[in-house]
């Protein structure tokens, strides 16, 4: 497939946004359980949510470039019964709303407990909204991933691993950012978020590696045989019916050399996984506050490469019909 930058940005940016929010909320829950020191709600959670919002809005903004008619985007909410794309279109704003609320409540400091569960756990609005937000975050990961995973014709994508990757890589990058954010704001949650970021990154590495291996040994379900219904060992297209290119040749081919694709693959394998982990580790040792930020930036760049490769790797069965011209 042809990797569209709008989609690369959309999926990676909201991934970070979702992950960051989940990180923040995890932090809040931990501190509630006194596993972590409590944080200043407006400065940390408020600003953190804002940061997450910025990523989500940026992602949304990017997505519009993918549409021929952004002004009609609202229509895309209508087919939630059948279309994962439609579902994403519904869940994304919903999630953004919740993040906004969550952030706003923290910012305004409306954190007075509504009630306490078994005298130990004070439940305030942020906790509830945060919980709903987390659910939405996961729903969003699933719908985004399912847009691709649900297409059975694109065998590289048609697998639960696609969902796992979107989720884990999104969360990992979010926790990375959380770590960076903590480092930046000087709160000592760097270790906490950093550790989790590393854990998620390593989990992501496992699932992503798994999908790479799976796709490497993929058995093509369709060959020219069934595409044109002729049975013969030697068949070649001579003319695809046009010579100046068409939507079919632009949308479904990345048009890059195998070498380029390989370079992208290797670079994302380095940038997304080992490098950030190393940087976080180094951050521990050197107590540096810059390294976590670097780690995030490196990983995000890597994720863009990963997403580009995700598209480029997928071979659409329609391509069987567009192999030669004369």
């Amino acid at each position: 497939m042809h990797p569209a930058f709008s989609v690369i940005f959309l999926t990676t940016l909201i991934g970070v946004g979702q992950g960051l929010f989940l990180a923040l909320y995890t932090g809040q829950v931990y501190s509630l359980a006194n596993l972590l020191p409590a944080q200043d709600s407006s400065a940390f959670y408020g600003m953190g949510s804002l940061l997450s919002m910025i990523f989500l809005i940026a992602g949304l903004f990017a997505s519009f470039f993918h549409l021929g008619h952004p002004e009609r985007a609202w229509r895309a909410a209508s087919q939630w019964r059948t279309s994962w794309l439609s579902r994403e279109v519904i869940v994304l704003p919903a999630f953004m709303g919740l993040v906004f609320l969550y952030g706003a409540l923290h910012y305004l400091g409306w954190t007075m407990p509504l009630f306490t569960v078994s005298d130990t756990l004070p439940v305030d609005l942020t906790l509830i909204i945060g919980f709903l937000g987390s659910v939405a975050a996961f729903a969003l990961f699933i719908s985004t991933a399912m847009i691709y995973a649900s297409l059975k014709f694109l065998q590289e994508w048609h697998s639960p691993l696609t969902v796992a990757n979107y989720m884990l890589l999104g969360i990992a990058s979010g926790f990375m950012l959380a770590a960076a954010f903590s480092a930046y704001t000087g709160v000592d949650l760097v270790a906490f978020f950093g550790t989790w970021a590393v854990i998620f990154t390593l989990m992501g590495m496992v699932t992503r590696a798994a999908s790479l291996i799976r796709n490497k040994n993929l058995r093509r379900k369709i060959e020219l045989k069934s595409a044109i219904g002729m049975r013969h060992s030697s068949m070649h297209q001579k003319a695809q019916g046009f010579m100046g290119g068409s939507f079919n040749t632009r949308e479904f081919f990345h048009g890059k050399t195998a070498a380029t694709v390989k370079v992208v693959k290797i670079s994302f394998l380095v940038l997304v996984f080992p490098l950030p982990v190393a940087l976080i580790a180094a951050a521990y040792a050197l107590e540096s506050s810059a390294l976590p930020m670097l780690a995030f930036v490196v990983q995000y760049v890597g994720l863009m490469a990963e997403r580009w490769y995700f598209f480029a790797e997928a071979k659409h069965p329609q391509n069987l019909y567009y192999q030669s011209m004369a």
Partner: protein, 239 residues
């Protein structure tokens, strides 16, 4: 419910592209238009077509088959392109099974084209909406046209009548009979999309001459006394 469709007879398609141009001629100026072109008189001209004719070579010299292969939307009975559409712009008509795009609803997300394993949809880069073969919906449903013209443009244009149009759900229709009797088949059946359009395979007419068909009593060489009449023939004894 009926399911209108095309049956394409690869046994007689000569790859003339008449269906390609007549399709564009009718549709670009009709209900489904426009079908814009980019760089029409410059390098690498490109544009929207609903129907393309391709050429394949099957086998190796001298046992080569040259196959001309027209391809347009197959109006699948279970069209994967429809449910994925977030806006409902892509739909399949209840009454005749034709799969269409409502340009006014389409947001141009191209998702439906990803969901079509046949590459039958083409994005209109100028108007930013998805387009595709409409089975000439504005002809086949136009009751003001005389019966014999209430057919797709490509069907009417085909010089070898390689394109047959009709209702594949009606067992007695010309298309159903052709599919039944001439081994009609679907493209990429593995997916279960059940394309309504089907293709008729190549068929070969062969001839076998037996030796005794060559030597006969009515051989004109006899008249010229060029052939000895070996033994008696029916000519000599029968009356």
């Amino acid at each position: 419910m009926s399911q209108m469709a095309l049956v394409i007879d690869l046994n007689v398609c000569v790859g003339c592209h008449a269906c390609v141009t007549s399709c564009k001629e009718w549709n670009t100026s009709g209900w489904a238009g426009p079908m814009p072109d980019q760089r029409p008189y410059d390098a690498d001209p490109t544009g929207v077509f609903f129907n393309r004719v391709q050429t394949y070579e099957v086998g190796e010299f001298p046992c080569t088959e040259t196959l001309h292969f027209p391809k347009s939307c197959l109006h699948c009975e279970d069209p994967p392109c429809v449910p994925v559409c977030p806006t409902g712009a892509s739909y399949k008509r209840e009454d005749n099974g034709v799969v269409l795009v409502d340009y006014d609803k389409c947001i141009g997300c191209k998702y439906c084209s990803w969901a079509c394993p046949y590459g039958a949809r083409e994005f209109d880069e100028k108007n930013k909406v998805m387009k595709k073969c409409t089975l000439c919906i504005d002809r086949i449903t136009d009751m003001s046209l005389p019966e014999n013209e209430r057919k797709p443009a490509c069907v009417l244009a085909c010089p070898t009548r390689a394109r047959i149009y009709g209702d594949v759900h009606d067992p007695d229709s010309e298309v159903s009979v052709a599919i039944r009797e001439q081994g009609g088949y679907q493209l990429q059946p593995e997916w279960g999309t059940q394309p309504a359009n089907q293709y008729l395979p190549r068929r070969k007419t062969r001839m076998h001459i037996r030796e005794d068909e060559l030597v006969r009593s009515d051989n004109p060489l006899r008249e010229e006394m060029e052939l000895p009449v070996e033994g008696e023939t029916l000519d000599d004894v029968a009356w």
